[in-house]
């Protein structure tokens, strides 16, 4: 029972990270129908920036804040300079461009910070909470990760549902030409969408870096899990991304605990294949089937 509880808690704390990575992918997919293969590279860059800020200021929170802002800026710049030229091109062009960007970012990071994995601090302690005499595998840093992702999700819901900017972004995502007729500057909403997505990605990087360390290719696997979570929840649904992330985190945690950690990546792959075979639109996307 205690083992099950601990596996569940571990699943939740890794699940929220997959959820954040999935959310970053979903935000971009929704608005531009592009799967951002460079997401791992972008969050690696922002996490390295946080690493440098933490090193020079000795403040975790300075690094945290700078990484989120760096995410916003990086997302906007990438959309304007790299994605804008291929937005109207065949989908494969965007795939190639984001893959190229990933390689570019990894090379840049290698030149600046080197190829060695660097350790990254946690927000709070890593000591598990003691409850009724047992030490849980759930620390205040894990709790912070869960709360951070929940808060970000909540803010995004408020933004999309209750603000004019959110309404414009949804309109631009669902029907770009109609949105333009109604005065929405679709180009700006796309830039904002990429900026927000990259900021959520930056958060995912900050939360996962203490356990993976930071290196140019440190987040490749997290992105695979994030993609699996997004497919599970439905690529069009932010809520689906979060639920998909949590479900995947739990599933992989149980797999790792009861079947062995070597089958975890295989498990994520099986999830993707099963979802695509049984319910290709994911758990939370309704309506017409996806084109993919």
């Amino acid at each position: 029972m205690e083992r099950f509880l601990n596996l569940t808690l571990t699943g939740v704390s890794s699940g929220v990270v997959y959820a954040a990575a999935a959310l970053a992918l979903v935000l971009i997919w929704r608005s531009t129908r592009i799967v951002n293969f460079a997401q791992g590279g972008m969050m690696m860059i922002t996490t390295f920036v946080a690493y440098s800020v933490v090193r020079s200021t000795d403040s975790y929170w300075a690094g945290f804040a700078v990484a989120l802002v760096a995410g916003l800026v990086l997302g906007a710049v990438v959309e304007r300079l790299v994605i804008r030229p291929v937005e109207d091109a065949p989908p494969l062009n965007a795939v190639i461009v984001t893959l190229g960007l990933l390689i570019f970012l990894q090379a840049i990071a290698g030149m600046i910070w080197g190829g060695e994995p660097r350790s990254f601090p946690v927000a709070f302690g890593i000591e598990g909470y003691d409850v009724a005499g047992t030490r849980l595998l759930f620390s205040s840093s894990d709790l912070f990760a869960v709360l951070a992702v929940v808060v970000v999700m909540g803010l995004l819901v408020v933004l999309f549902r209750a603000t004019p900017v959110g309404l414009r972004m949804r309109a631009a995502a669902f029907a770009p030409e109609t949105a333009r007729i109604l005065g929405v500057r679709v180009g700006r909403t796309l830039t904002l969408g990429w900026a927000l997505a990259a900021m959520v990605g930056a958060l995912a990087g900050l939360l996962v870096a203490p356990s993976t360390f930071v290196s140019p290719s440190a987040f490749d696997q997290i992105l695979v899990f994030g993609f699996a979570a997004a497919v599970l929840g439905g690529l069009d649904s932010p809520l689906g991304a979060v639920v998909g992330g949590l479900l995947l985190g739990l599933l992989l945690s149980y797999l790792s605990g009861y079947a062995g950690s070597e089958v975890v990546t295989l498990g994520a792959l099986v999830v993707v294949i099963v979802v695509l075979m049984v319910r290709p639109s994911g758990l939370f996307t309704s309506g017409a089937g996806r084109r993919v």
């Binding site: 004019p164 309404l167 414009r168 949804r170 309109a171 669902f174 029907a175 030409e177 109609t178 949105a179 333009r180 007729i181 109604l182 005065g183 929405v184 500057r185 679709v186 309506g287």
Partner: protein, 252 residues
Amino acid sequence: MSATSGRGPVDGAAPMLAVDDLTVAYGAVTALDGVRLGVPEGGITAVLGANGAGKSSLLRTINGLVRPRTGTVTLAGEDITRVAVEDVVRRGLAHVPEGRGVIVELTVEENLRLGGLVRRDGDGEGRAAAADRVYTLFKPLAERRRRPAQTLSGGERQMLAIGRALMSRPRVLLLDEPSLGLAPRVTADIMAVVRGLRDSENLTVLLVEQNARSALSIADRAIVLNVGRVVVDAPAGELAADASLRHAYLGF
């Protein structure tokens, strides 16, 4: 039956919306060929013609979605030919696209709010009042405020599309085939509302229709396009009464 000139139409008053020497081509295909027409303020001008006559191209060029090869579009004396589509609506020209163009994933209320976002006077109360006015004009929408537009019937979607355009408080309304796919009675209801807006608010309307009979029932002026050219520009009643013109271009 003279073509009204871009600047000075027959009755001397400058038109609210004018198009002069407009030529639009997609590759080698010419959609509009030297089109010139004026839409007087506070009137309903119908643009009629068969499929492929260039009617939709005309609207899409007026609102900036399509760039013309030559010619100008003038709104209330200002040249808007090169104004981007996102800004045309801010100048007071609202477009109800063909096929209704409501955003089906958004609710009725959200579609209306979206239409009102470009209003600059837009304090919350002004927008709420504008929405209430739309709900008064189109009663069925009022009962479905929180429903996704997906759940609306064809007629209700057309009402929503027109209502959404009205939210920006336009001076000119471009209507693209509002009768498309609607039952005759629903079409008549919608035409009556458009007529009412002209009468009560002096709204200027450019109405593109394939359904010439119902368009002529509310229009003040009628223009017939044939393969990208203006072939008739006359008072609506005159065109409706002229059997040979009707047979030649409108098929009834």
